[in-house]
Symmetry: D2
Subunit: 401 residues, 4 copies
């Protein structure tokens, strides 16, 4: 028996890894295969084409690396930059902090632009830095699209506008780990040079593929980038792309079939419908938080995230206890507050293959936990607010009309 | 892609087939095996011992027949009775009706004791019939423990008391399809002669095993019962039990392993805890129905069912539309009203491997559907009532303390 | 850990249940569903059409009953015949014996036509019985297409010719359990009235569906057949077919999806190619047996079975020991000799989703076991004979050309 | 339908990824989980202890990195060495070549000791290099235990003896990708400083975990090693080991459960029995090659590999055609010849969860393919040689005695 077994389903509402749909579990339920047979390259070729759609790019080149988001970060950086390069990076929460830590350890000179946790990237500072940088010493702008620790979504279109305004050639590198396939993301339109995500996030797969997509400009930069890299080197992939065998080393057969099905599900639903669904789930969650009389960690509407909501708890409550109790009593998995906001927030992940009733079950659970820990929430209040919104906005399931 | 695909989980709240726990799905994910090897009999032997525990019998003999509940009914009847035998049977809903239909087609003389749908078996009539039957012409009493169509639980202990009062030797045959493993059921204590259930109900397996358990008295009766039977004949099983090979024909290997895991899960949780969990789920559902201002099809508390609740809708609403819309818009599967109460009730199945938050998600969904079809429910009202109850009564998950 | 665990794959060569292909395992790896939703009937409707193809019938009506082959037998008999009806039935091995036993217990008057085990049905006796029966007292001819105990395939076309010759109206009932989907079977062309198979045989599924297909004449007969039946009654199915809900009681959701995939695999390969593959596997097995210097239990080429080969062992060897040792030492599952030929034969099942190299692994294993038990086989001899045949006759896999 | 579908099982005999046992597939068939719950660390803690057993170390520290063997290589090197460090590395085939390429790209000064492909590492040269290196400028010896391209196993005990003889402090880094869990490997006894393997090899899992095990000396070296690393940095793991949360970034939940089961299977069989089984499979394969009149690519018995056999084909045959045809006609996956020996050898991988009859099926298939491409092999000859050996040497399966 599993150590964690509890009756019924686990209600998984951490912001990753997320719930895997049954068709994807089925697709991955298979033996290994020879990845040098004609079959795996044939499948890979189509996957590489299809995966571009989730980035909304036609000109990008994707790499499906057997790694996590952290590895995808490293691949994005080391393939485009050289040690000592100056980059601008925004610190707005735990995951941007970790990326910045990586950037520094990889020996880039990082201009860290810090915001209060709960706020988005300070783009005014970006503008002033670019304005000053007439010598183009800034080689890249690094930004998380969605900060998973605080539930803050940055405005990437605005970053592009600022870059364009100053005609600055810096590369535009985006961590889309908790956004791509869930939030509106437009690689080509926004001129993103490297975008990346992980399979265990909105794609709703197990961990194991870091998907990195490079613009032509990023590919060009990779030719001169001097950062040492082997495992994460795009050139090794490009060499095998040309050969038509695609893989410099062994991929996970199961994840390839899983990705095939995950994409099929997304395309069947329609990527824009997927994004609209996340918008509904995010909005409903925020309405519930409001109804509970609690504050969103995200300080302004402009940054509200549709994939994760960090909820501030009153000072007399330890949010860690909320997460622990949710798991122990209601089989509900919530996200902890991290680092600076440990104990102060708990997080509801609402991304991936998820629907309205799953979220309402979670919200009902949060209400009970809140009472368990002494916060006098009115039971049903958050659920009522969320379901009022859902009842007005949820479309019929197209396959069932 | 599946015809029915919708994003996220299907919320399965029909009163069978019910949700299968992941450990059971895993256990069944296997190739076939030679059922004449030493391994399958070894497993079967232990299963036959363990399956007796869910009937709370030490003296009964179980048969795990590759069939459905309907087949289990037939096995119970044909092994114990002869054509022309007089039996008393209670008609209180669609499933008791179907069983009676089967009894009549099998050529028994059935004294049908009918109640209004929503009421339990009329045991006063039973008493008077037994009182009159000094010649013991009544050979069996047939009763459903829990009528799945109306959400009515009959009082089996009372049936036994009446039989004892009149010292009547009639066999006591019980359909426990939607009760065993979920409601309090005591084969030995209540002197039940044949009890039966189906794998797809509270055991939370796929359809495919009809489990029939026979008391020593029932086994004795089978020696003289003249009903024609082959596939359902207990004697064929008993012959193979003696040989130690256990199977007169090919069992489903997958279901055997699934049953093994299903029982492990039930024993790990504790059968009494499983029953207590169903009691919580049933009570919470009824509190929600009340909060919605709707009526339970079950007319009196004494018959309330902890595995299924049939909810009466106002006359201006067609309950079929509720079920249809729940499925089409919210990926929620509810039970239809059947036969006499078609269009008048919808049913919430709350049996099997299910927890509190799953049910609350369902209840939130029902609220939205009710508004969709024009019933002015206050959103969150049922969820609030149910979760208030849960918050006071749900134990910690033992494996996580 | 499983009681039976051994390193590597189990080599499953019993004549049922057989190896399940991975795509079928995947398809069945799923939660239950509401079988009263629109989805399950929609799938069932197409399945009922498609399943007719494996019977090669356009006029037949199929029933997919949640039962085993034994139940399918009972359904075939009780729906078409009345107690006391005279039938002709051929006893040529254990499974025809069991069917005859069932026929007798169901109160038909059975003219048993016995052959030596290893021989096919004696059709001369059939001819003489029909010739004599000018009053048409014989209501049905019951015959197994392929006797699984002895590896004997009967000539069904010849049965039809004899029936036609005497213009005899007897129903023609066929057990196709170990033939349909593997041997050439033509329901319409041969005028078969009821044909049946089980899911765990050449369809390569788990046990659990007995598929029975009835000709218009059989359906007509069911209107007047007086055998008592409920669970197995075709009329209950026909009623639900008309309603478009298809199921009188709960089907196995998993098996329906499994059947869908099993049929897809068969149709993709091509039913005639599937049959040709079985022909190759059967021929190769017989060549191996010959090379080993052993005798086929089947006494004449006209009856050779392409789905199972029963191999006679020398009198100084107990075939049970061969089966036991194969399992204990080589993870190889062979079929036991049954009843009259227990200890005298072991059986190699070569049906279902199986290919050439799997069989060669089995044959190599049998060779080692034969030496283990003291039969001086030349190692490699059977494999050589079989692979010489395969090397000349195996087509390229079309999906890989 | 899969592009590659063929009837029956795929016979997977590439030297990785290898066949996954059913119990492991089952264990991995699950939804994601919160890796920050108490359950995942609890499981991880035990896994880290257990995984040390497959390295035969009690003093080593293992890291289970979400990557492939290539990433594991990089982790081994960058954590222990600094750019410019001199290392000795042996080039004996394609995989040692790739590792050397990585070493050079990571800016180490590599003394490449090349052997003819088919020979093992030239340890005489190692001895002379160490003898000369009194200044201890050599920082590490890098060696593949088993070269997967040529089927050559190096003598690691001898490497240790040489190091000891010269009292040389160089680190001893071993690629055990195609050896650990299959060949005799003794980290502590042989004084290996870093050993590594990949999940998709003898552990018989999907690709996705690079397991790296570091000796105390290697851990010490990591404190001063100046190679740039983040994703592969052991320190990040060690930090989380101390915290008891174990994971610096998201692991694959499925692979953790898979690894748990894979280890359980290995421990149940007994690691030494697993190694003995590989020894049988290797020996039998070589006997078959000999019987076919073909040459082993491995030039001397001392280097024979028990996990992969590279078979030289006559000059008039293109081995690529053998691999292609095996896949297209017999559903048999063999390994290609790589680089220098492309077209000249084909490879039979016989590692992981595999048994005797599986291998015999493969060998029978190879025989047919050889004839297909014009090599006049005597059918059955290799199978006979292999099975003669098996029949004398295969133990009973303990769980079945």
């Amino acid at each position: 028996m599993d150590y964690v077994y509890g009756p019924g389903r686990n209600h998984l509402f951490v912001p990753g890894p997320v719930n895997i749909p049954e068709p994807v579990l089925r697709a991955m339920n298979r033996n290994n295969e020879d990845y040098r047979s004609p079959a795996v390259p044939a499948m890979t070729k189509i996957l590489l084409e299809d995966v571009k759609k989730i980035f909304k790019t036609t000109t990008g080149t994707p790499f499906m690396i057997p790694t996590t988001g952290t590895g995808a970060w490293e691949s994005a950086l080391t393939n485009t930059l050289s040690p000592g390069d100056r980059i601008v990076s925004f610190l707005i929460g735990q995951f941007s902090l970790l990326w910045i830590d990586q950037q520094q350890r990889l020996n880039f000179k990082v201009d860290v632009v810090e915001s209060e946790w709960g706020q988005g990237a300070n783009l005014d500072i970006l503008a002033s830095k670019l304005a000053e940088d007439t010598a183009h010493t800034i080689k890249a702008i690094c930004i998380v699209h969605n900060e998973t620790a605080t539930g803050v979504t940055n405005n990437l279109a605005q970053v592009r506008r600022i870059l364009d305004e100053y005609r600055h050639p810096a590369l535009f590198l985006v961590d889309g780990v908790s956004s791509i396939c869930a939030l509106d993301f437009r690689m080509d339109e926004w001129g993103v040079d490297v975008a990346l995500t992980g399979s265990q996030k909105a794609l709703s797969l197990p961990t194991g593929i870091g998907i990195v997509c490079a613009s032509p400009k990023a590919l060009e930069a990779s030719k001169t980038a001097k950062s040492v890299r082997v495992f994460f080197d795009w050139n090794d992939y490009l060499k095998f792309y040309k050969l038509g065998t695609y893989w410099p080393y062994t991929p996970s057969i199961q994840l390839l079939y899983g990705l095939r099905t995950a994409l099929d599900l997304i395309f069947e639903e329609g990527l824009d419908n997927v994004i609209a669904r996340h918008s509904r789930l995010g909005k409903a969650t925020r309405l519930a938080v409001e109804a509970w009389g609690l504050k969103n960690c995200t300080q302004s509407e402009e940054w509200f995230s549709d994939t994760v909501t960090a909820v501030l708890v009153p000072p007399y409550i330890d949010s860690t206890e909320i997460v622990r109790r949710a798991w122990k009593r209601y089989n509900l998995s919530l996200g902890l507050g991290l680092n600076k906001i440990a104990g102060k927030v708990f997080r509801i992940g609402h991304l991936g293959n998820l629907n309205e009733l799953q979220l309402l079950g979670c919200l009902a659970g949060v209400e009970m936990v809140l009472r368990d820990v002494g916060y006098p929430v009115k039971l049903g209040s958050g659920v009522a607010a969320a379901s009022a919104y859902f009842q007005n906005n949820t479309p019929l399931i197209p396959s069932r009309i």
